[in-house]
């Protein structure tokens, strides 16, 4: 379970998160929508401790992410994240991109790691690209590789930050299909997305973010069918 309680976060003078509360249960898929600059990415990077917070707390299965005693490297094995930029490691082949962390962080042997990596890469449809360098992949393929790379650590939670925003429209589908598949397999996921159809079809709950505040949250039918908050209404009328 991910519990986010009254989280405040600022970059210098700029307040980005102004008291965010959100609880995500095991197996749940939550989509976060909202205007750009509203703090969605920042929230995700706070959840896996890439950024510190000023107050409040974030618990993952009861472990306080920002407590001094928390081993963040250990915690991050549990929480995978995929970013908008694909962040492929350009100097490693697709296979090595995926096996690197299992070998160096989990201490797996090369053979063990490769077995897992091949499984995950097959899962995302890249089984024929093992020995290829990322520069030879399309954006969609790179993004699917990034997903496989995160999955190879066997995380219990996955955070997705606008993973389709940097893609050609034609390549969006293949990545969304991968996310859908994961959701159906029961992965706990928080997806920041601009794909409203995806948010409606895949998530159990949709959260609307506005200026560092979670303005509204509820089942997709409610958010898309009968939004309560005026900002939500405005936002949705603009994206349609």
């Amino acid at each position: 379970m991910i519990e986010i309680e009254k989280v405040y976060k600022s970059f210098g003078k700029l307040d980005v998160l102004k008291g965010v509360d959100l609880t995500v249960a095991r197996g749940e898929v939550v989509s976060i929508i909202g205007g750009s600059g509203s703090g969605k990415s920042t929230l995700l990077t706070c959840i896996n401790g890439l950024e510190p917070i000023q107050s409040g707390r974030i618990l993952i299965d009861g472990t306080d992410v920002h407590a001094r005693s928390t081993d963040l490297n250990k915690l991050r094995r549990k929480v995978g994240i995929v970013f908008q930029q694909f962040n492929a490691f350009p100097h490693l082949t697709v296979l090595d991109n995926v096996t690197l962390a299992p070998r160096k962080v989990l201490g797996m042997s090369r053979a063990e790691a490769e077995e897992i990596a091949v499984k995950q890469l097959r899962h995302v449809g890249l089984a024929d690209k093992l020995k290829v360098y990322p520069s030879r992949l399309s954006g969609g393929q790179q993004q699917r590789m990034a997903i496989a790379r995160a999955l190879a650590m066997s995380p219990q939670y996955m955070l997705f930050d606008e993973v389709t925003s940097a893609l050609d429209p034609l390549l969006v589908g293949e990545v969304l299909d991968t996310l859908k598949m994961l959701a159906e397999e029961g992965m706990t996921m928080i997806c920041v997305t601009h794909e409203m159809t995806f948010a409606r079809d895949v998530s159990q709950r949709v959260a609307f973010f506005h200026q560092g505040i979670l303005a509204e949250i509820g089942p997709p039918d409610q958010i898309f069918g009968a939004p309560q908050h005026p900002e939500t209404q405005k936002f949705l009328s603009n994206v349609r």
């Binding site: 890439l50 350009p90 100097h91 690197l100």
Partner: protein, 221 residues
């Protein structure tokens, strides 16, 4: 004009000795480059660190290495340390001086390369549970070396040229040292040094070629 008979044949007899010297030259250049690279990486990290105690000495190293003659740096290692009762052999002093110089120049090269690697690469590494040092070693450093490969190759050529300075502190086993010793015995200055010049040119070209092969083997992406 030119009432001088060139005696190439006589000088040519010394070629095997000079080739031995060329090997020593190459050896010093390679060692100084390896030591220089290791120190340069540490300097590059230190120069961008938050602690002034790391930043200041690293900056001083870089600025002294770049703003004083290499020969001065070798003199410091050979004569200067004598003030502290430390007497380095010509070989060690030469190696230390060149490595010091290499480290200073390469540090700036590496820093430039580091700036070209997106911050998101580090983020991606950290998000997979890798530590800071691990991320730097496995993700950032390999990319840094690739970006700075060409300038590093140039530094290697500079290192070869710098090895010739050893003769001024009594180095006798490298190419210039051996040439100078033969010169002192035979007085065929022009012939001997012309041969040395050819050998240096060939070494420089061989190094460039080797670098190209290494790059081709190493950087497949």
């Amino acid at each position: 004009m030119f009432d001088y008979t060139f005696q190439w044949r006589q000088a040519y007899r010394h070629l095997p000795r000079m080739l031995e010297g060329a090997l020593v030259t190459l050896e010093i250049a390679v060692l100084s480059l390896i030591i220089g690279i290791v120190i340069a990486v540490l300097l590059a990290v230190a120069r961008d660190s938050k602690s002034i105690w790391l930043r200041a000495p690293a900056t001083a190293w870089v600025e002294v290495a770049r703003n004083t003659p290499a020969l001065f740096q070798i003199y410091m290692a050979h004569f200067g340390l004598g003030s502290f009762g430390i007497y380095l052999s010509p070989y060690v002093a030469l190696l230390a001086g060149i490595a010091f110089n290499n480290a200073g120049y390469l540090c700036e090269t590496f820093r430039g390369a580091l700036r070209a690697i997106p911050e998101t690469q580090t983020r991606a590494g950290r998000s997979l549970g890798m530590g800071q040092a691990q991320t730097f070693r496995l993700i950032v450093m390999p990319q840094m070396f690739r970006i700075s490969f060409l300038p590093t190759t140039n530094q290697m050529v500079w290192a070869i040229l710098m090895t010739s300075l050893g003769v001024t502190v009594g180095m006798a086993t490298d190419l210039t040292g051996i040439t100078q010793n033969l010169n002192a015995r035979t007085f065929r200055t022009f012939e001997l040094f012309a041969m040395a010049a050819v050998l240096y040119y060939l070494i420089a070209k061989a190094v460039m070629l080797a670098a190209r092969l290494i790059a081709w083997r190493l950087f497949r992406y």
